[in-house]
Symmetry: D2
Subunit: 415 residues, 4 copies
């Protein structure tokens, strides 16, 4: 038995589906310690949008370390943080006419969510937040309360309260959009307390690549606006260009009150998280929310470099959309090639899913893919959705290669 089995807690999971010990990684490829290469359609669960050890970011990062740039600074002012803030303002916020304040809530997406929930309750004086079926927002107690997954929720050890789950787009086949939510909010006898906020993902990565339509998102935003409820978009996984535009909600023309960013924002895989919000909501007192790992300057350096490299123009956005369409086409072909097995193609941009009839079948597909050298994970409540999340920098050849391997993996699993 190796040390992972003897020493590490049984809670570990990815290592079970991918029984290799990884060592190096470049671009869209990982290499295990025997040198075997794996094509990565997982991308660190959406962290590695610019690929592994992206050479441009790597150069900036090593230079920063070499010159003894400050590494850890909490919320002190630093040159690297200023540089990041400027890049964020000039390349992301201003071009989109967003005047958000920026909060560094801690190192991870769950911190961005916890800060968003706290702020929403604090601003409104209300005590609950509406989340959506199959939403996923994190593992800390506040974030877990708005997360749907029953296994994760069971891990809480205490009852999770102060929240209510509502049907996500498409959840109810026969019900007009927001029929239930509107009725519950309009009805003074519904039992749904007026919420501080709604928290939503535009595409539910962990929930199974469920994809909200543009008009559903717009109607949600309008519903919030009319009722003075805050709208929080959790763009931790779908932001930073995963679906095409920098923010996943741009295609719907939304201007959420609060936005959560993390994962790919750091550029190189180093922890970074942001909570963005309308300036009027900035009622925090100094230090009211804090945390140690809020000033990881190497992450600022890589993040700023990534913004300058990839968000100066719309090339990345366009290529992501195009590659996403290519992936969708192939997935549709795969589905069509197995008429006896109901399959559904889901997602947007380079967040794509192939929904299969069972978690068992999806797991077999991923195992087959691993044997062929392709990393793919499952998602969805039963693990029934094969999830494609390649780096946005994947080349056309790599994309085709990966899709071919997926095709074979499905074929073998379907026998």
């Amino acid at each position: 038995m190796d040390i992972f089995q003897t020493l590490e807690s049984d809670v570990r999971s990815y290592c079970r589906g991918w029984p290799a010990t990884f060592d190096r990684a470049v671009g869209s490829r990982l290499y295990d310690e025997s040198g075997r290469a794996y094509l990565d359609f997982f991308a660190g669960a959406g962290v590695l949008n610019y690929g592994h050890n992206n050479p441009v970011l790597k150069r900036a990062l090593i230079e920063y370390l070499e010159r003894d740039g400050i590494t850890h600074s909490l919320d002190m002012n630093t040159v690297a943080k200023r540089d990041f803030l400027q890049a964020l303002r000039d390349l992301v916020l201003r071009p989109r006419n967003l005047d958000y304040k920026v909060m560094f809530p801690g190192p991870a997406g769950a911190n961005a969510v916890e800060a968003a929930l706290k702020l929403a309750c604090k601003v409104t004086g209300r005590h609950s937040v509406v989340s959506f079926t199959n939403g996923f927002h994190g593992m800390t107690l506040g974030a877990l309360a708005v997360t749907g997954n029953s296994v994760k929720r069971a891990g809480a050890g205490v009852p999770l309260a102060h929240t209510a789950p509502m049907p996500y787009d498409g959840y109810l086949a026969n019900s007009p959009d927001f029929e239930l939510l509107t009725k519950l909010l309009d009805d003074r006898g519904s039992g749904l307390d007026l919420p501080a906020a709604f928290i939503v993902e535009t595409v539910q990565g962990e929930g199974g690549l469920n994809t909200a339509r543009i008009e559903w998102l717009q109607e949600l935003a309008e519903l919030c606006r009319r009722r003075d409820i805050l709208l929080i978009v959790d763009d931790v996984q779908m932001g930073c260009g995963r679906t095409g535009p920098f923010f996943s909600f741009e295609i719907a023309g939304l201007r959420p009150d609060i936005v959560c960013l993390s994962k790919a924002i750091g550029g190189y895989g180093l922890p970074l998280a942001l909570t963005l919000f309308r300036p009027e909501l900035d009622i925090w007192t100094p230090g009211e929310h804090n945390g140690t790992f809020r000033g990881i300057n190497p992450a600022f350096v890589a993040a700023a470099e990534a913004l300058r490299t990839y968000w100066r123009d719309d090339n990345l956005e366009k290529s992501t959309v195009a590659k996403g369409e290519q992936a969708e086409r192939v997935l549709a072909d795969v589905a069509a090639a197995h008429p006896g097995i109901p399959m559904q193609v889901r997602g947007r941009g380079l967040a794509r899913g192939l929904a299969l009839p069972s978690g068992d079948l999806a797991e077999r597909v991923c195992r087959n893919a691993f044997e062929r050298g392709l990393l793919l994970e499952t998602s969805g409540p039963e693990g029934e959705v094969v999830k494609l999340l390649p780096p946005l920098t994947v080349t056309d050849d790599e994309l085709d290669e990966g899709l071919s391997l997926l095709e074979e993996s499905v074929k073998e699993a379907s026998r």
Copy 2:
């Protein structure tokens, strides 16, 4: 107005007390962008026990980056993680006869605490955890519930429940140790529900350097043992040698059921957190607790190198104890030099505090120190305790220099 003021949320705080923009840092010194040097008696709130950009760790880190070692891997197996686990086992756990399982709960201390609380409730089937007055455990909703600070608690936006605060060592002048707690637990009519666990710091860093005596800690552990309550030591700030030994509870001979580590464990300021627990408690199902930023391999690399460099023998432990005594002597002299102002010297090892009569006075001391080029923060419920947390690698000269600057700062503030 600079971009920090215009763009960053008002929640920022350290930058207010230290109005500089930092750029580089080496060992015990930070440099602002004008090149001015600052002696660091803050050490990233306890993250930087081995100093800024420690050259041994830096070399290992850059080498790893240069050779494209995998950066971000969640809980996949990697060569760097194996190396870290081996170092942890061979240099930390085995020499201390500790057979803990190791869980990577997320990037930060709050994640280590949240995982500990979840696990304690899950294992015992109980729903509350006893914390202590002035304890500090983090900002996420679960960790915040066991944190004392009223400003932070007020930020939650929802009532914080499922916990009960008990007097820390020395809190009640006239009461025998644990008189209240023992009575409440023995008394079936007390209203204190049997807790899943106690969570305690051996020295309360944020709470004002309150220091639990060895016998108090031992009595606490014995009380837990007899009543089948789990003991969680939050060693996020006091672990990794801050008080001398690797774990702060070693001097009391404790073997806690669960230990939380973070901050300095990463070695170089990169986020890393561990929850350690007795193997029998490892009832997690795979993935029941997870999170994206759990496999920051550069942190593993620096962490392993730090263990090999500093924990192969007891030199660091001994020097920390000796330097701590030196700091204590000087602080006692400072107190003695101001007989009209009641001052109290607190702490253990290189976690030291000078408790002053008011937060106002302590803030003036820190401001004076900043003007003299020394970084010091306040702690305690009223911010009334000047907190000394130099890197453990601080030289004797640097220590003397810092203590002199502190002495002057107190003198000036006391006029």
Copy 3:
């Protein structure tokens, strides 16, 4: 200003709509202190199913008091309690093949509900109960948590948790029955924790006389059975013959796991409440739930006499159904007579409602009725439903008289 205004809290409400000081009452009539008579279509909010000061019950009650029968006995055994239990068993439970255990949870319906919720959580080890939109179950903190009304909920002063409201029958126009609930329960990612129980009224008295169809109730029961979720029917207002049969759920052939009774069970207006449940659920330890006012023997005496008088045969059930149909016909005529004002006739048995377009109009109708000597209250989330709840012992003439007065009141209000 009278003493009610000067001394009693502003929380009082019925006295505002009916500005009289009542003195005597017989059968279906109340008399104020000036001797003016009022026809009562309110019946003590469903307490007075057998009319005011029913002479048969009155005789039994006074005889009991005269002979110094024990008045207050908590849960001691008494002759009067034995007599009541025997009547309940022989006249109610056995004829319906129900083998329920009987718990006396306290004096009021809310106590019956609190005991039901506690027991459901205790038996299942789960922590939440699903309630339905516009359900009303009481004002104590547990009962309030499953109650829909936002004004009442706001009175709690603390966030109400551990519950989730689901659409009642007919709430969603376009959705098949239980589409949402079934999906949420089947979906491991829905965010709806598996509940201990559902709590439901067959007709929602306070919620606006919303009436669940037989097939909806049956589907609900089947859904509970298949998923091992307990079914609690709150029959506090609709039980004791209000809709015809003794239990309102009899028409659907239901056998709920737990049944809450109160209001009319006491017969004469004296507080009494019962929680009935399947014998297998009786896992209470002695005294685990208790309360002072659980043995009001005058209530037992009147209750037993009422069962013997009215439930020895099916005469009352039949007459209630017939009178209910008469009320429905007249209400339908009223609605038809005002084609410009959308009205809806609701309810079952002698629990009837006339839903109007606004609470304002409904209030005017009730005010007009009061001026004509008819007591009627509003219900529903906006107070938009005029509620008819005459004593079951109302004579045909009284019923016709009351319906005529209602007709006039609507006509006047609609002008």
Copy 4:
């Protein structure tokens, strides 16, 4: 097996200690169905301060029933309610210079407590209430949260939150009064959220006759006043003259913000409960808290008659004090007569307790007493306190008789 065993839930408890079936009761005596008499030192758990079926109240009650006075009226105005309010104002409130508003929160003490807690949270905007060790306030979810007893708490089925238990007078042998509470409130890092209110009993009836000293109560009131925390006195068991004066807090000169009354206020054993509060706190909106059983006019009639009979002068108060001293003397003699068994005499007025070393011994004493024809219950966290709660109308001879029987019962149990 009788019908109590076959049909009633196992939750029943008093009937287990007193295996008789009671039938009639007069004054201080109960009679079982075989005609055997029992001297009652239990008094319906404090409901029957004026004895069983008190002839003066009985006459008023039967007259009211005979003349068809309205029985059940919710919060409508009635002649009987006006009469009660006038008696309460003229005989209780005005003579004591109390200008409380009167709320009828429901039929039982728990309703009075729930309304008090709701109002305190609503008025202050805070979410927690401080209760005291071994406090007992009721079984509904809100009242249970401030109750100490672990068996009752375990019955809740959900975690009980939003409250914190503090040491009652005498709980900590070595700690100055309120040392802990004052420190926790003064300390911004204590983890105790600023509470809406304290809820306290002056003598803890269920908790074991623990008796707060006058100066402790005064210090508590002063502490509340200075910190703008509301003081709720739960006088459900100790009010209505049980300790001598009408309100138990009169001897300390307290003017609580909110007072809970129930049990004996109804006079004859019929359910009645009041929440009294300072007029400035009356911020309820109409109907925000309601409930069906709030207008039990027979209870108003008996209650008003009881006030007029017993509270027109101070005779009852004086005789209660005198009888209480007699009881105390005899209990002290009993204790002195058993030097080998540590016993403690507790209580005030006619609420008295003999604390024994174990619940087992106390239970034997009560069983012996029952065999001798004396009803006594145990209280305290381990059931270790024999509780004496005779009617206040007990004659001197009955008191002596009961105390003699107790003496014998202790002697026999101590062998």
